[in-house]
């Protein structure tokens, strides 16, 4: 029975209870996808776990580093001098003072000669005057327990007077035996007192770099020794003075002992110098700038294709591309650097075995924004689908061309990373972790075929701003104090490069960054 009917109503009524069971294979496919997704979902937590563990390790290293550097500093100041100077050095000092002042004076005389080298012989006259003054002071010192007053001694006090002081010392203690033999005989007790202070001075001049606390420790040792032994010293003075000239045999043994003390002082001085060097290095070369270049390999977890699900079965491969830019780093502690920079990173990805032809009816890739209306009518399908008879309605009647889909992506990368040095010597090894912000600046899709290059358009599911998490290993070799060569294999996992439908494609890239670092 024919009747006139509104066309919309006809369809609405007919389709009202429309329900069709799909083929069973559909569920099979869904099930397979769900299971493979579960496997994939393992990868992401795994990645976050590794990144988390790396961050925690970095914090532990940092904390440990701070604690241990603090501990290291304290014992150097407090324990070493007391260990080396107290019981054994007591004996050394005692013996030295008891047995022979001449050791001290001879030692001093050696130094005198050294220091006097630049001075002309006529200058000796000038030294005599200060000697008088000083010996007067020494008498005062003797009255006031000599050594305790040494702190008030202008010789010690006056800055830049060390050289002069030592010159005075020579004269006081008769370092120039030819000149001062008589004065020593005349004033034996004075001589000892002077020698005591001389000894003190030899230590203090040797210890120019020492902390005040150390000086005090040494001085007090000397004071007690000299006080205890003053009696002995006094009685032995004349003999000693004679020995000074005659007996050279005692010198080597006692001198050795003295050397041991001097060695300690020298060692500590060296340590101090090293420490200073380290400090200056820390303060002066905190910044580093390193231009870099790297070959980049782009890939993705999952067997899917980001362009269209229909291409999932197609063979695809990344091209090796380049990244280049500049990194800056700032040294926040001995081992830890924070770094940033700016770089250009390019990626290229080929999907092989596609076929394309123009036709009236178009099969459009879901994630492609076509560049012109003509490319809208360009049908691109997997070559296999034509060979197997599918898509015949699309391409069956029109001639098709086989080709390769070439996808180019470029980003401006701004990283923020932490670098922890495991080895920091001539050859350095470090771990690097952090994240990068990626600003999309190139996005194109072309077909390369025997007919040439056809521009298709661009991917429409790429985010303009995305992020990556980075983990890498840094190797560097120091050419000089300021320059080093770096090699950093780094893995970067892109977090949100694609918006919405990326067909399960999880991209990453791997680069071997090489560059030259300049510290300033």
């Amino acid at each position: 029975m024919r009747e006139k009917k509104h066309i919309d109503r006809l369809f609405q009524e007919k389709f009202k209870d429309f329900e069709v069971s799909p083929n069973k294979s559909v569920w099979k496919n869904i099930e397979r996808e769900l299971k493979s997704k579960k496997r994939k979902s393992f990868i992401v937590p795994w990645w976050y776990k590794i990144a988390g563990a790396a961050a925690i390790l970095t914090l532990i290293f940092l904390a440990g580093n701070l604690i241990f550097t603090n501990f290291e500093k304290i014992p150097i100041v407090k324990s070493e001098p007391s260990e080396k100077l107290s019981p054994s050095s007591d004996k050394i000092l005692q013996k030295e003072i008891e047995t022979n002042q001449s050791i001290v004076s001879e030692d001093n005389s050696e130094r005198t000669i050294n220091r006097e080298k630049p001075i002309s012989s006529g200058d000796n006259i000038i030294f005599i005057e200060p000697q008088k003054q000083v010996s007067g002071q020494a008498e005062d010192q003797k009255k006031l327990n000599g050594i305790t007053k040494s702190g008030d001694n202008p010789k010690v006090r006056v800055p830049n007077s060390i050289a002069k002081d030592s010159e005075k010392e020579h004269l006081q203690s008769g370092k120039n035996p030819r000149l001062n033999e008589i004065s020593e005989v005349k004033k034996p007790v004075e001589g000892i007192a002077e020698n005591k202070t001389d000894y003190k001075k030899t230590i203090s001049t040797d210890e120019e770099g020492f902390d005040n606390s150390k000086k005090v420790a040494v001085h007090s040792n000397v004071q007690t020794k000299t006080a205890n032994n003053s009696g002995l010293v006094k009685t032995d003075i004349e003999n000693n003075n004679k020995k000074e000239i005659s007996s050279d045999e005692t010198i080597p043994a006692t001198k050795e002992k003295e050397k041991s003390l001097l060695e300690v002082a020298a060692q500590q001085k060296e340590e101090k110098i090293l420490e200073n060097e380290e400090n200056t290095e820390l303060t002066n070369t905190n910044w580093q700038i390193s231009p870099f270049a790297a070959p980049i390999y782009y890939g993705g977890f999952g067997s899917q294709n980001a362009i269209d699900p229909s291409l999932a079965q197609n063979e695809s491969e990344s091209e090796v591309t380049m990244s280049y830019g500049v990194n800056f780093s700032y040294k926040i502690s001995e081992r830890l650097k924070i770094r940033s920079g700016v770089g250009q990173v390019s990626m290229a990805y080929n999907t092989y075995d596609i076929a394309f032809a123009t036709s009236v009816k178009s099969a459009v890739f879901s994630n492609v924004s076509y560049s012109s209306p003509t490319t809208d009518n360009l049908n691109i399908v997997p070559l296999k689908s034509i060979q197997s008879g599918q898509n015949s309605e699309l391409l069956g009647r029109s001639p098709f061309t086989a080709g390769t889909l070439h996808q180019q992506i470029g980003f401006i990368e701004v990283p923020l990373e932490i670098e922890y040095a495991l080895i920091d010597k001539q050859f350095g090894l470090s771990v690097i972790g952090g994240a990068s912000t990626l600003f999309l600046n190139n996005n194109s899709l072309v077909i390369n075929s025997e007919n040439g290059r056809t521009n298709i358009g661009k991917m429409q599911n790429l985010n303009n701003v995305s992020f990556s998490t980075n983990i890498g290993l840094g190797l560097d070799y120091k050419i000089s104090e300021q320059f080093d060569i770096n090699l950093e294999p780094t893995f970067k996992y892109q977090i949100n490069s694609f918006s919405g439908n990326n067909n399960g494609f999880k991209p990453y890239y791997f680069g071997i960054y090489t560059g030259i670092g300049f510290k300033f």
Binding site: M1, F11, P22, I30
Partner: protein, 180 residues
């Protein structure tokens, strides 16, 4: 098991529950996919992708509103995804905007035939016809969903109706000719 319980289990990504949900709704959603797709194979692909998205995003469903409606919307969006970027700018023919009436013998015209002629509509016409006529979206909504103007939506609808009317009448004609 109630629907809420089933949804809760699907949120935990339990594969048994997912299968049950699929069995409950695949028929209805497949009909949607068939209407919006050019052919059966394409409809299957759309259905498969839609269910994968449903299972992935089910945690976002907040138990407010129709669950079936939510799933249907995902299926439609997914079907549209393939065609959304086609922008067809055509001059609106005011004459064509009138809704045509067809003379039809309802008993002789099958649902299968109607589906077939819908599927054979050019993509841009099929989308608009399905959205506006069969799924009740306004031209404004259709325009937003397809990223086209309302004018284009109206014009595409008119052309779709024209093609369908022609095919129905042609079929009727063939049938009448045979019976003579």
């Amino acid at each position: 098991m109630s629907l809420e319980q089933l949804i809760a289990k699907c949120k935990k990504q339990e594969i048994k529950a997912q299968e049950q949900l699929y069995r409950l709704y695949s028929g209805k959603l497949f009909s949607v996919c068939l209407k919006y797709s050019g052919n059966y194979a394409e409809a299957e692909d759309t259905l498969q992708d839609s269910f994968l998205i449903i299972f992935e995003k089910i945690a976002q469903y907040s138990n407010k509103g129709s669950f079936e409606g939510w799933m249907k919307r995902i299926a439609i969006n997914n079907a549209l995804q393939r065609y959304r970027k086609q922008r067809i700018f055509e001059i609106v023919d005011e004459e064509a905007l009138r809704t045509p009436e067809v003379e039809v013998d309802e008993e002789t015209i099958s649902l299968e035939y109607l589906l077939n002629i819908v599927q054979n509509l050019p993509d841009r016409y099929r989308m608009v016809f399905n959205l506006y006529v069969l799924d009740g979206f306004s031209h404004k909504e259709v325009a937003e969903m397809l990223n086209i103007t309302t004018g284009t939506s109206k014009s595409n609808l008119a052309r779709a109706r024209g093609i369908l009317k022609e095919k129905i009448e042609k079929k009727d004609y063939v049938k009448t000719a045979k019976s003579l």
